[in-house]
Each structure stands twice: as structure tokens, then as C-alpha cells.
Amino acid sequence: MKLKKNMHTMVFKIVLLFFAVTAFATTDSLVQKQEVMIQKLDSIDNSVMGLRLGGTATAGFVSSKLTSDPLSPNSPTRDNQAYTHLKLRLDARPSKETNARVELTLHKDWHQAQEEGINPVIGRWFSYDGKILNKKVDFNLGYMRVSHTPLTLFTPQTEILQEPTIFKEHRVDALADRNLDTTNNRLLQGLNVHYNSGKLGVLDNIYAQATGARLRATAKKYDQVFFDFDWSDRYFAGGRTGLEAYGAHLGLNYVNTFDRIRSTRAVAGPNPLAAYFYDFNKVFTVDAGFDSKNLVSLPISFGVDGEFAMSNWRYRADSLTQKTKTHYSLIEGISRINSYEGESSFYVQKTESTSKDWKLKTLLKEDGNAFYVTPFVKADLFGFNLDLKATYLQNDSNFWAEMASTPLYQRNISILNADAFYDNQLLDGVIASFRSGNLENLYFSIYNSNVLNRQNLMTINASTTLESDGTSDSRFVLSRLYNNYKLGHFYKNAYNANTWKRLEFLVDDLDPSVNMALPLGLATPDRQGVLVSLDADYKKWFELNARFSKIERQSIDIDYTTIAVGLKANVDEIFALHNDLNIAFSAEEAKESKSELKTTRLNAGVDIGFLSKWSVLAGLQILNKDFGKDPVSFGGLYPSPDDPNAEVFVTTATVQKTQELFALGGLKYKIAPNSSLSLQGGVLNNSITYLDMIGKKNDLDIDKFIIMAGLKVNF
């Protein structure tokens, strides 16, 4: 009886508590308040003229212990990084409207501190930005992040629903090492001018934007020791204009990417290459949209966005060819038609002269169209927040929009334990392709300052070929190194801001576990289909995300199906706790119909805050790739059993599946907003299932045990 009474009291207390906490559910936590304050202070600072210094200092330690059966007994198994990394931001404001920014990086690797040398400060960002002419014109000069529309200038991003916070922080850091972020803007170096008229009569806005940038056509130049500007540069110019009225907008967009022909000819010298190849890409698009929210403010709004694009792509070869020029002239002669004695007359003389002249030949040309239309509904009713979108897209196989398509994520970079070497010849190919996995590439990056030596300083000999065999290095190689005991900054990072030219894309192998259906975003050529996305939340207590897409690749008759669901419960919001407490889960499956290639990604994450400044973050991600009917084969040439002098190709391993698992947990102490002390530990497993030479199923496990500690201070 007493127990029953107690029970009643307890239920009553819980209900009361529940109501009490929901009443304060909208109150911001202390930390959030602090952050808002800091931002306000920042914005005050931003309008003060003069020089301002800011940045982030990180001291960190990363240790990765590798275990794997085929590892050579002599191989290093532990990869240690102990570093101090300083990102310094200098803002100079010559006027209230403009700002010049320089970001510098200082990096010291303590684990190789004995290799002392001159450690250079490198400049990672140089820009001059501003809002001028009554804040109607924005401009950026130097480094900038700009996007126009999804089919012209854009960066497709990797979307992982409800990605655990602990992982997302690592991904953002890895991107930031490359000056990249998680937006759809593209990192460029050039000039951008953007004009917005504001309200003009019945029009809400007229805008015009022009952007020009220099792109890099190849990763490395001839030589690291000379001025960094040559014919391998590529250029981008784009412009857009449009108007907005009555909740609708209409825009015209144009982008052009091209190589420099005349300057290449100018520096080609007397003995040019047989041909220089150029890639030209132009895209013209019309975009239009409507959003009822801009017309009337109702709890439910709806609208549509769409874009139609026409692309033009040319692949050309330029070569110095012998050219004959014909000249016609009149010369004097004797005519004897009127009298045999003859009289002076004039005759046409043809003379030919040969000269060498550049000839530009179009090797390939393709024009294609693409369009998408996205109707959407947004609702904010009774605490429910809903955002439902459906996209229909139809892109020709000939469509190509270089500046809208290249993703930032590029696969198969060995980041952790990159110095480990394996001792199994039969698995060479497998290890080269799978020694790191998608999870390592998504979430890790290593920044080092290494001594420049013969291995990492590229040299060139008298001819213009890069030498790899070492026997015919440049005769200057030693003199270059002699007084050059310097540290250089190096990355191991799977993200990259380079754009792929069309032919580069065709030879490049994409990682099917990231955006299998639309690896190049909405601009992916040869696609037709529907994408549906739903993002909903209830009073910020619960979040639900759902994605579905069915995309067909018309030219080879295969289709992709993607289903993804994400769920998050913000327990701190439900009970109005001052500390973070949330739990998130997501699952994604992508399939390809023909080869039955299938990838599955599962995520679980939890953030627990306690004692106001402490938090525990944990995340688990499992990624399975099943290559289905089209497994990846590796092999090599081996002596033939029939003829000892002949060699035959033998398939030594056929990879059928990979299973990756990344579990990471950590403790974080918040010193101030954006400043923290953390300790994390976890495992990163990569298990590759393959058939060996005799068709027997085997597993190759590459396991990494990781410990990370770090102190991050924002100033």
C-alpha cells in the first residue's frame, strides 16, 4: 500500500517535472548565450577600423596502432603525431566597408623535432573583401568561396544524415586544412563582384554577379623552385543576372572554363611538344523559382525551383604545323599576241612560302542539356517543422558542367600509418586500393612539416621530363638541397578543391560509398530520376530526415536506388537541460541495379554534457560495400606453367565486400566558446573479403587503434 502511494507520488513528480522543464524548453543554454555574445562582440569588432588579430591554436597528439596479418615484420606499426598548429588570422580594415584578410599557418611537429630546420610560416588565405556603394555591391578579391547555381558554379557535398558530432568535427577540421568548408561554395582565387539593387518599384531585387578565377590544370608544375605561373593554368569566367518580384525569381547564368592558348604558344619554345591539349567548357542556364513565403507569410508555404542548362564542351589539340602560304603578284613580260615584235604586258605569278604556324584542331565536341525542377512544401504548425522537397532531374549523357560537378571528396588516400608496408605479394593490389577506407578518408587528415629532401622535392633534369628513377636527376639536385635544410608543409588529406576536366573524370574511379547515384551532384551527366527529401522536427525535440532517390542512367540502362533515414532525439531540449544531451541514428542504403553493387552506412551518435563544461561525445559508423556481380579483381604477371619463358596474367585476389567500422568516443572540457580540451579514443577497422587464387574466401583485416588528445584555443 505504502509502495503504491510512493508510486503515485513519483508519477506525480515526474509529470510535474516534465511540465516544468517543457515550460523552459525554449530557453537558450548558457553556452549558447555565451556564443551569441561573442558573435555580437565580433560584429562590433568587425566594423572597427585598423588591424585585428585572431585565430586558433591547437596542440594535439594522434597515435594510431596498426595491426594486420600481411604486415611485414619490419614495418612500423605505430604512427605518432604530436604537433602545435597555429592558424593566425590578420584582418586589416582600411575603411568601414572593406577588409583585407591574411591567414597564416605555423606548424611544429614535435615527433620529429630532432630534424630541426627553418620552419616556415605559410600563407593559406589572402583576400580583400567588402561591401561597398551603400552595401549594394559585395566584392571578393583573392581567395574566395563562391557559388552561382547547381548547374553552373557549385560544389556537391557529401551528405551523411545525423552524422555524430564527434565525426562531424573531424570532417570539418579535415576540410578546413584544405581551406574548404561544408557549404556548396567553391573555393576559388580571383575576383567576384555581386550587385543587389534591393527594392526597386515592383521589383524586390535585381542582381548581377561576375566571377573570374584562375584554376590549376595540373597538380604539380615543372619545378618547385621557380615562379608558379605557367601554361598549365586554366581560367574560369562566369556571370549571372536576374530579378526577383512577387515571390518569384528568374535568372540567366553563364560560365566558361578555358585554357590559355596564346600564352602556351608564346612559351612553347623552338621545340614544342607534338601537341598541346585543351579543354573548353561553357554552360548557359536559365533558373526560375517561386516561394509563397516571399508573397504571404503563412504557416504553410510552398514553391518550386528549377534550372535548365545547355552545355558546350570542346577538346582541342594545338600543334605547330608546316603551313604553305601562296602569294599572287603581277610581273612584267612580253606579249606577242598583237605583234610578233612584242609589247610589254603583265602576268600573274604564283609564289609559295612555307612557315610554321599553330593549328588548333577540335578532336571531340559534345553539347548537352540538363534540367531539374524541385517543388517543395514547408510547414510550421503546432510545433511541427516540415520541409519536403521532390526533385526531378534529366541530364543528357553529353552534358558537362565542370565548375558545378567536381566533389571535394577524393578517395583512397592513405592517411594513418601511411609508412606501414605489407609483405604479401599476392595482395599488393588489394592493399594499394583498400589500405585506407572511406571512413579514414572522410574523418582524418594529417598535417606535417617535413624536412625537404630528395624524396619529397621534385627535381627535373635538363630535358623536360620529371625523373623518378633517381639516376638521371637534375644536376642541380644536390646544390638545391645543400643549403636547403628547410621544413615544408605537407598534407595527407582526401579532400581537394581541384576541378576535374571532362576527360579526367572519365578515367577517375569514384568511391561508390559517397553519392553513388549522383557523384557529381545535380550536374552529373547521363542521369534521369527523382529524389525526395524530408526534414522534419517536433519542437526541436525530435528530428527526422528521410531521403529517397531512384535515378536511372539512360545510356547503359542501369538504375540506382538510395534510401536513407535519420533520427535524432534532443533530450536536452525535451527536458530543458542546461547541458547537451542527444542521441542520433541514421541508416543509408544505395544500390545499383546491374552489378548489384550495394553500400550500407549506419551511424549512431550520442552527445552527453555534464557539469556545464564537460561533455562526452561518442560515435559509431559502419560502412559495408558489396561489389555484387562485379567484384574488383587484382593480379599480376607470373611465369607460365607451360612455358617457363612466358608470363601469364593471374588473378590473385577478387574483392567481393568490404566492411568498415569506426567507433570513437571522447571526453571534452570546454574552456571557453570554441576552445576546448579533449581526449578521444577509438578503433577503425577495415575488413576486406576476397577470393584468393584458388577461389577460397578470405578476410584481410586492417585494424587501427587510435588515441587523440588535443587542446584547442580560439583567440
Binding site: G239, N256, L330, Y340, S345
Partner: protein, 218 residues
């Protein structure tokens, strides 16, 4: 006006979108009369054709001389052998388009002889010397001329009319019945230009097939 100022921002975009091309005209395709016929023009003006043959022979002779393989004495002997071979010379005269009958040849010889007697100019020699290929026998010289006549570039013959023939008042076709009204009288239909070259333009002329008389085309 204020709004126009805002639209100025669109100018750089529209410039970027605009593109233009400039085609270069072909120099050979200049205007010829619509009834121009290159075969007739070549028959009426055989010198235009034979000039090409002369030029080719002159070039190959020059090459031979440049090599130093042929002495001055040798070339005189070679030439006299050619000029004294009457049958070859007669056929050449025919080939070059001058002979229509035996009287023409006789007339040519008598004229050549009389001029040689009076003003000491050897028309005969001047006429045929350009067709002598050095280091070749007279018969081979003739064959070379035959060969070169086959290789005549008729585009140059057409071009001759537009570059010089029209100005020079050359007949470019045979006359029809309607044409034969005004005989071409050399200079009174021509303006003389600054370089003392008579300019017959815009008049054009035809030739009577039988009489070889040129008439003004109306």
C-alpha cells in the same frame, strides 16, 4: 535615369555572353564576268598560258646554271641546235597557239626577217629562246613544252583577267552577233592612269573568232 544606372551592372555580363566571328574573304574569288570562260580566255590570250610555260623552263634552266654544271659556251650550242631545228620550231609555234594556217607561219618568218634587216632585232630568236631547256635535245625541248602545257594552272589564267586583263582591255570571250558594233581602238577607249598604263575599265571586250578583231561588249 536612376534605374538605368543600376542596369549598368549588367553590361559586363552581357559582354561576356557576346561573341563574334570575322571571316576572311578568299582572295582568289574576286569578281569575274558572269560569262567568263577560262578556256576561251586562254585561247584568245595564248601569252597568258605560254608565260607559265616560259617561267617553268626558265626556273629549271636557272637551277642547272646555279649548279655550275653548264657553261656559257654549252648553253649557246644547246640554243643554236634548238633554233635551227625547223620542224620542232614550227610545231612549237603551232603549240603556242599562233598558227592557224601555213600563211601565218610564212608571215611570221617574213616579218621576223624584215625586222632583223631593218632594226637588227632577231624576233625569231627572242620568240623561241624561252622554250629551250638546257641540256636537252630539240625534240625533248618540245616534249617539255607539251608536258608543261598540260600542267597549266588555269586558276592563274582566270586570276590574270581580274588582276590585269580587264584593266588591259583583253578580250575574254568570243563575240556574238550582237557584240560586233564597236571595234576596240586601242587607246581612245582607255583612261591612262598615273603609272602610264592604259586602263580600259569599265569597258570589256570580246574577240571575233575568225578575224581576231576585238570588239567592245555592250
Amino acid at each position: 535615369m536612376k534605374k538605368i544606372k543600376y542596369l549598368v551592372w549588367l553590361i559586363p555580363v552581357s559582354i561576356m555572353m557576346a561573341c563574334s566571328s570575322m571571316a576572311v574573304d578568299n582572295a582568289i574569288e574576286t569578281a569575274l564576268p558572269s560569262d567568263f570562260n577560262v578556256t576561251d580566255y586562254a585561247l584568245i590570250n595564248p601569252d597568258v598560258v605560254s608565260f607559265q610555260v616560259e617561267t617553268k623552263i626558265k626556273e629549271s634552266n636557272q637551277k642547272l646554271k646555279d649548279k655550275g654544271a653548264y657553261s656559257a659556251a654549252d648553253s649557246i650550242a644547246d640554243l643554236s641546235a634548238f633554233l635551227t631545228d625547223t620542224s620542232v620550231i614550227k610545231e612549237l609555234f603551232d603549240l603556242l597557239g599562233y598558227k592557224t594556217n601555213d600563211e601565218a607561219w610564212d608571215l611570221f618568218i617574213s616579218q621576223a626577217d624584215s625586222i632583223k634587216d631593218t632594226i637588227k632585232v632577231d624576233i625569231y630568236k627572242d620568240f623561241f629562246t624561252p622554250y629551250n631547256s638546257l641540256n636537252k635535245k630539240p625534240n625533248d625541248d618540245l616534249n617539255i613544252v607539251k608536258e608543261e602545257l598540260k600542267n597549266v594552272d588555269y586558276s592563274l589564267v582566270s586570276l590574270h583577267y581580274s588582276m590585269f586583263g580587264e584593266l588591259n582591255g583583253r578580250a575574254y570571250r568570243y563575240c556574238t552577233k550582237d557584240d560586233k558594233k564597236t571595234v576596240k581602238q586601242n587607246l581612245n577607249q582607255a583612261k591612262v592612269n598615273a603609272k602610264d598604263i592604259p586602263d580600259f575599265r569599265p569597258n570589256r571586250y570580246c574577240q571575233d573568232k575568225n578575224s581576231k578583231i576585238n570588239y567592245l561588249i555592250k
